[in-house]
C-alpha cells in the first residue's frame, strides 16, 4: 500500500478576523486541523506613535499614552508620568500617590476582567461571560468619568500629581465597588472555572515552561502563570507599592488555564490593594504647582512598571527642550506576543485562538 499523500495548507488568519484582538495577522500552516507553524505579522495598526511622541511636548504625551493600551489607559499614563518625574526629579504629593495607586489597580481589575471575558469568548462562549465582565468594567469607567471626565481616555495623571482631586462621591462608590469585587469573582469562578468544557479546552494547552518564558522576555501574568513569581511591584517597588500588603499569584504548569487562574487571583489582590489605599488615603494637595512650559533637565531615563499585561517601560531622552528627544516604549503585549509561535505549534487551530486570548494583547500597544 502506498502511503497517503498529504499536504499542508496555509491559512491567512487576520488582519480582519473575529478573534485576533484587532488587526493582527497570523500566517498559519496547517496539517488538517493541527498547526505546523505560525508566523505572526504585526504592523497593521502602526501609527508612528513613538515619532509623534517626539514632536509632542512633554505634557502632551500624557494623554497620548492613553492610546497605547486603550484597555488600561491609567497604567500607561502612570508609567510615562513616573518616568518623566524620575527624569525631572519631581516628587508628587502623598495624596496624589495614593490616588494613582487606586486608579492603576482599578485598571488592573478591568483589564483582567476583559482578558477573562475575551478568553471565554474565544472558547466559543457566545459573549455571555464577556457581558458579565463588562458590566463590572462599567462601574470602573464610571469612577473614571467621575474623576477625570472621560471613560476611556482619562488623561488623569499629570506630571507631578493628578489633574483633579477625587470628587466627593468617589470614595463611597469606590469602596462599594471594591467590596463587591471578591463576590463577583467568586461568582465568575463558580460559573466558569469548574466548567467541564473550559477545563478540557484550557488544560495543557499552550504550555510555556518558565525558562522559555524568561528567554522570550515575557512578563506579567504570562510569566507568572509559568511559575516565575516575578512582579515589578515587588521586585523594584516604584511609587508607594512597598507600603501595601499583597501577594503575587503564580501558576504551576504555564498553560492557558494557569493564565486564567492567575488573572483571577490578581484581581483579588488588586482589590486588596485598592482597599488598603482607600483606607490610608491622606488629605492634602493632589499636584505640584504646574508650569505652562515644562522643560526637564538633559539626560535619559528608563522607568518600568508592572502594567496589567506585563512590564511597561518608557525610555525617554531629554535634550532640555520642550519635547522629548527620544520617546521609546517597551510594550508588554509586543514582547509577550513573541512566544506565540512556540506555544501554538502542535496544537489545533482552535487552540491558537485561545492562546492569543490568554496572552492578552492589545494591538494599540503591539503596533504603536
Amino acid at each position: 500500500m502506498t502511503e497517503l499523500k498529504t499536504e499542508t495548507i496555509t491559512i491567512n488568519m487576520g488582519p480582519q478576523h473575529p478573534s485576533t484582538h484587532g488587526v493582527f495577522r497570523l500566517i498559519l500552516t496547517l496539517d488538517g486541523e493541527t498547526v505546523v507553524d505560525v508566523e505572526p505579522v504585526v504592523g497593521y495598526l502602526h501609527r508612528n506613535h513613538e515619532k509623534i511622541g517626539e514632536k509632542n511636548n512633554w505634557i502632551q504625551n500624557t494623554p497620548f499614552t492613553d492610546r497605547l493600551d486603550y484597555i488600561s489607559p491609567m497604567s500607561n499614563e502612570f508609567a510615562y508620568v513616573l518616568a518623566v518625574e524620575k527624569l525631572a526629579e519631581i516628587e508628587p504629593p502623598e495624596r496624589a500617590k495614593y490616588i494613582r495607586i487606586i486608579m492603576v489597580e482599578l485598571n488592573r481589575i478591568v483589564n483582567h476582567m476583559i482578558a477573562v471575558g475575551f478568553l471565554l469568548n474565544e472558547l466559543g462562549c457566545f459573549f455571555t461571560p464577556m457581558f458579565y465582565c463588562l458590566r463590572w468594567r462599567e462601574l470602573v469607567v464610571d469612577l473614571y468619568e467621575m474623576t477625570a471626565g472621560s471613560r476611556m481616555m482619562p488623561n488623569y495623571f499629570w506630571i507631578g500629581g493628578v489633574s483633579a482631586d477625587l470628587p466627593e462621591k468617589f470614595l463611597p462608590e469606590c469602596k462599594e465597588f471594591v467590596d463587591a469585587v471578591p463576590g463577583f469573582i467568586d461568582e465568575l469562578e463558580r460559573l466558569l472555572t469548574d466548567n467541564e468544557i473550559l477545563q478540557m479546552r484550557c488544560r495543557n494547552v499552550g504550555v510555556l515552561p518558565p525558562d522559555v518564558a524568561v528567554e522570550y522576555g515575557c512578563t506579567g501574568p504570562l510569566l507568572r502563570a509559568s511559575g516565575v513569581p516575578y512582579d515589578i511591584r515587588k521586585a523594584e517597588p516604584y511609587s508607594i507599592y512597598d507600603r501595601f500588603d499583597f501577594d503575587i499569584a503564580a501558576g504551576t504548569v504555564g498553560d492557558v488555564l494557569d493564565r486564567y487562574l492567575v488573572r483571577i487571583a490578581e484581581m483579588r489582590q488588586s482589590a486588596k490593594i485598592v482597599e488598603q489605599a482607600l483606607r490610608d488615603l491622606p488629605e492634602g494637595e493632589t499636584a505640584t504647582p504646574k508650569k505652562r512650559k515644562f522643560r526637564p533637565p538633559e539626560g535619559d531615563v528608563y522607568h518600568r512598571i508592572e502594567a496589567p499585561k506585563g512590564e511597561l517601560g518608557f525610555y525617554l531622552v531629554s535634550d532640555g527642550s520642550e519635547n522629548p528627544y527620544r520617546y521609546k516604549i517597551r510594550a508588554p503585549s509586543f514582547v509577550n506576543l513573541q512566544s506565540l509561535p512556540y506555544m501554538c505549534r502542535g496544537h489545533k487551530i482552535a487552540d491558537v485562538v485561545i492562546i492569543i486570548g490568554s496572552i492578552d494583547i492589545t494591538m494599540g500597544e503591539v503596533d504603536r
Binding site: 455571555t128 473550559l198 513569581p229 515587588k234 503575587i248 499569584a249 501558576g251 487562574l261 487571583a265 482552535a350
Partner: protein
C-alpha cells in the same frame, strides 16, 4: 361538563376538521384523485408556511432569551416587543449584494445554498403536531427522519467545498466528521425506544407512550440525554458549533455566502433545531399527549421548552475542540448508546409491557448505568484541581547566559 369536553375536543381537532372541510369542499367539483392531489400540495404548503413563519418567532425568541441571559434586552425596536425583528433582518439580507466568488464552483456553490433547506422541510412531514395532525404517517417514520437528515450534511459539505475558501473548507471538513460521528449515537439512542414500541412510525411512538401512561423520558432517561446531546451536535448548535465556530474559522462553511443565500443557511439551521426538539418531544416527552390543553398546544409547549434548553446552552457553554468532539462521540456517546440498547432489549424481554413493574425496572436499569458512568467518567480535572500559588515575595528570573 359534556359541553366543555365538546368544546375542548373541537379546539383539539380544529386543524384536522379544517382539512376535512377543505377536502369536502374540493370533493364537490373534483374527482377523488384530484382531491388527494390538491390536498397533498395544500399540506406541503401549510408545512412550508408553518416552517417559515415559525422562524420569525423562533429567531426573536432566541435573541430575546440570549439577551436576557446576557443581561440586556435583546431586540425591542421593530414591532411590538421587537417581534418583527426577523422581518427587518430578512429585508436587510434580501437587499444585500449576492456575491459569488470568482474562483468558486458556481453551480455547486449556488445549489448548496438551496440544498440544506429541502431536507429540513421534509422532516416536518412525519412529525405529529397533534392528535391526527401528521402530514404523512410513514411506517418507517424514524428511519425516514434519519435518512433525510443526512442530506443536510451533503449540502453543508457542498457549500464548504465549492466556496474555494480555506475557512469554508475547514468548516466543511469539520461538519462531515461531526455529523457522521454524531448520527450514530443519535440513531442508536432512539433504537431502545423503537424496541419498546415495536414500530418506527412516529404516531405509534406517541401512542405507545399513551399506553405506558408515561413518557419515554422516564423509561429511557439516558437515551433521552444521549439523543439530545447527539442531536445538538447534529444541528451544529453550541457547544458543538464547530463547523461555524465564529471565533476560530470565521463562519465556517458559509463564510463566502451573503444575502439571501446566507439567509437560507440560517433558515435551515433554525428549522433543524426546531425539528430535533420536535423529534425529542415526540419520541421521549410523550408528543402531543397531555391533560386539558389541546394536543397541538402540548406539542408546542414541550418543543419550545426543549428549544429553550438549546438557547440556554448556546448562551452559556464554551465550545469543544475538534478532537475532543470526536472523542466524546466515539468514546462516550456510542458505547453508552450501545449499552443502553442492549440493556433495554434485555429488560424489555424480562418485564411485562405497559406495567408499573416494567417502568420501575427500566428506571433502575438507567440509574445503574448512570452511576456506572459517573464512576468511570469522573473527570480527571476534578481529582486534580489546579490552584495558583500565592507568594508574598518576588523571585528574579535567572537567565542562562550560556
Amino acid at each position: 361538563m359534556e359541553a366543555i369536553q365538546g368544546i375542548l375536543e373541537f379546539i383539539d381537532q380544529i386543524f384536522v376538521k379544517l382539512s376535512f372541510w377543505f377536502s369536502a369542499q374540493l370533493a364537490n367539483f373534483l374527482p377523488d384523485w384530484g382531491v388527494t392531489f390538491i390536498m397533498m400540495f395544500a399540506t406541503v404548503l401549510v408545512l412550508i408556511v408553518f416552517g417559515l413563519a415559525s422562524i420569525i418567532w423562533i429567531n426573536v425568541f432566541e435573541r430575546k432569551i440570549i439577551g436576557r441571559i446576557q443581561d440586556r434586552y435583546g431586540p425591542n425596536r421593530f414591532g411590538p416587543w421587537g417581534l418583527l425583528q426577523c422581518v427587518a433582518d430578512m429585508i436587510k439580507l434580501l437587499t444585500k449584494e449576492d456575491v459569488t466568488p470568482t474562483k468558486a464552483d458556481r453551480l455547486i456553490f449556488n445549489l448548496a445554498a438551496v440544498a440544506p433547506v429541502i431536507p429540513t422541510f421534509m422532516i416536518l412531514a412525519v412529525l405529529p403536531f397533534g392528535r391526527g395532525m401528521v402530514a404523512a404517517d410513514l411506517s418507517i417514520g424514524y428511519l425516514y427522519i434519519v435518512a433525510v437528515g443526512c442530506l443536510g450534511t451533503i449540502a453543508i459539505f457542498m457549500a464548504g467545498w465549492s466556496s474555494r475558501n480555506k475557512y469554508a473548507l475547514l468548516g466543511g471538513m469539520r461538519t462531515v466528521a461531526q455529523m457522521i460521528s454524531y448520527e450514530i449515537p443519535m440513531v442508536l439512542s432512539v433504537v431502545g425506544v423503537l424496541l419498546l414500541v415495536g414500530s418506527l412510525s412516529m404516531v405509534s411512538i406517541v401512542e405507545a407512550q399513551g399506553q405506558w401512561r408515561l413518557p419515554f423520558v422516564v423509561l429511557q432517561p439516558l437515551a433521552f440525554v444521549l439523543y439530545f446531546t447527539a442531536a445538538v451536535a447534529e444541528v451544529n448548535r453550541s457547544p458543538f458549533d464547530l463547523p461555524e465556530g465564529e471565533s476560530e474559522i470565521v463562519a465556517g462553511y458559509h463564510t463566502e455566502y451573503s444575502g439571501i443565500k446566507f439567509a437560507m443557511f440560517l433558515l435551515a439551521e433554525y428549522i433543524n433545531a426546531f425539528s430535533i426538539c420536535a423529534i425529542a418531544t415526540t419520541v421521549f416527552l410523550g408528543g402531543w399527549q397531555g391533560p386539558i390543553l389541546p394536543s397541538w398546544a402540548w406539542f408546542f409547549i414541550k418543543t419550545y421548552f426543549l428549544y429553550f434548553v438549546l438557547i440556554w446552552m448556546r448562551g452559556t457553554l464554551p465550545r469543544l475542540r475538534v478532537d475532543q468532539l470526536m472523542n466524546f462521540s466515539w468514546k462516550t456517546l456510542v458505547p453508552l448508546a450501545l449499552a443502553n440498547l442492549m440493556l433495554t432489549a434485555l429488560v424489555a424481554k424480562l418485564v411485562p409491557q405497559y406495567s408499573h413493574v416494567g417502568a420501575i425496572a427500566f428506571l433502575v436499569m438507567n440509574v445503574v448505568v448512570i452511576v456506572c458512568i459517573a464512576l468511570v467518567k469522573y473527570p480527571r480535572w476534578r481529582r486534580d484541581r489546579r490552584e495558583v500559588v500565592l507568594v508574598p515575595r518576588t523571585a528574579t528570573p535567572q537567565v542562562d547566559s550560556s
